[in-house]
């Protein structure tokens, strides 16, 4: 293949890598490895941080990573409530042991939290899921999977409903890497990089057009 043809092929691959096999991609990169290195260099240059606000960064770091682990606050609040119930029961003498146990157990199962050292937490309520759900730490890779299947999984994770205004888009196969810890807006932004459909959020719905 001529040099100029290889360059065009490589540039096409940058935009639509899922249309090519791994060996085709490798062949194109190896055919002009210097070009790929130059592209990486320019990407690095264009994304170098400019002004860094260190004080602002420290505040974010404090809030996200150094706040008292929420699991401790959670346990404290449950213990305090349980203690209040017991004291009330003792004072009134009217509550049975079974009633106290029922109340404490229901309070503890209302919300669930997962705490890991230094990681940000979010509360996942049975009736009102938040956008940020701390489940898997590892990214999930969808390799040549239909969009309908991908969105079913993603939407379920965030507690959203999926609506396909564009029925044809359901069967489009994609390669997508998804980190369940990232906010749903990031995922929607990634999906909108694909040209054959567009995705938007409408309240608690993900709409595909």
């Amino acid at each position: 293949m001529e040099q100029s043809e290889n360059i065009v092929r490589l540039l096409e691959m940058l935009d639509n890598p899922d249309k090519f096999s791994d060996s085709e991609i490798r062949e194109a990169v190896d055919g002009d490895s210097e070009l790929y290195s130059r592209l990486v260099e320019i990407k690095r240059a264009q994304n170098a941080p400019k002004d860094v606000d260190v004080d602002d960064a420290w505040k974010r770091f404090e809030q996200e990573r150094l706040s008292e682990p929420k699991i401790l606050k959670f346990r404290k609040s449950i213990l305090l409530r349980a203690a209040a119930v017991l004291i009330a029961a003792l004072l009134t003498g009217g509550l049975s042991y079974a009633a106290i146990k029922h109340f404490v157990i229901n309070e503890t199962t209302e919300t669930e939290q997962v705490a890991t050292e230094g990681k940000p937490l979010s509360v996942q309520n049975v009736n009102n899921k938040t956008d940020n759900a701390p489940i898997a730490a590892e990214p999930i890779v969808f390799d040549n999977v239909q969009l309908s299947e991908i969105l079913d999984k993603i939407a379920k994770h965030y507690g959203f409903e999926v609506v396909f205004s564009n029925k044809n888009a359901k069967k489009i196969r994609l390669y997508l890497q998804w980190n369940p810890q990232e906010p749903v807006e990031n995922v929607i932004e990634k999906l909108n990089m694909f040209e054959r459909f567009s995705v938007k959020r409408d309240g608690q719905k993900i709409v595909v057009e």
């Binding site: 935009d15 790929y36 320019i42 690095r44 240059a45 170098a48 990573r65 390669y175």
Partner: protein
Amino acid sequence: MHDKRLLERIFKAHYPKMLRIAKSLLYNDKEAEDVVFDVFAKMCGRDMDFSEGKTEAYLSMAVRNSCLNIIKKQKLRERIQKLYPLEDEIVGDDEIDRAQLIAEYIETKIQEPEKSILKLRFVDDLTFKEIALRLEMNINTVYKYLTVSIDKIKEHFKAN
């Protein structure tokens, strides 16, 4: 490390460089910051030698390794789409300094429409087809401008 003030001092002294290292590999602001925050957070509760040279060396290595681990977990197609290095690449101070110089060269010496094409592709992550539509030109013209600007950058830095 149990002293928050010590951590704050170390954080503020080293954060800018660590962010530069992370961004030089991952490009994305949030992803780069997450890696850097993770590294600093792991320092909490550890007994370490915090003498100046050793702290920077430890942090640099930890940030680089975290970034490279993220890149390695991605398949070839995603790596190429994000323009991640495809082989294990050493991105040291020289490469970061060079990136800064290239950025300045693009800002001051590259003319339009090449400058816009570089920004739209490498910062805004538009596809070449989207760039062609935005700038109202044929996609092959976009490719041509891109390769011309790459050659200019290459020649300038070869000469210097």
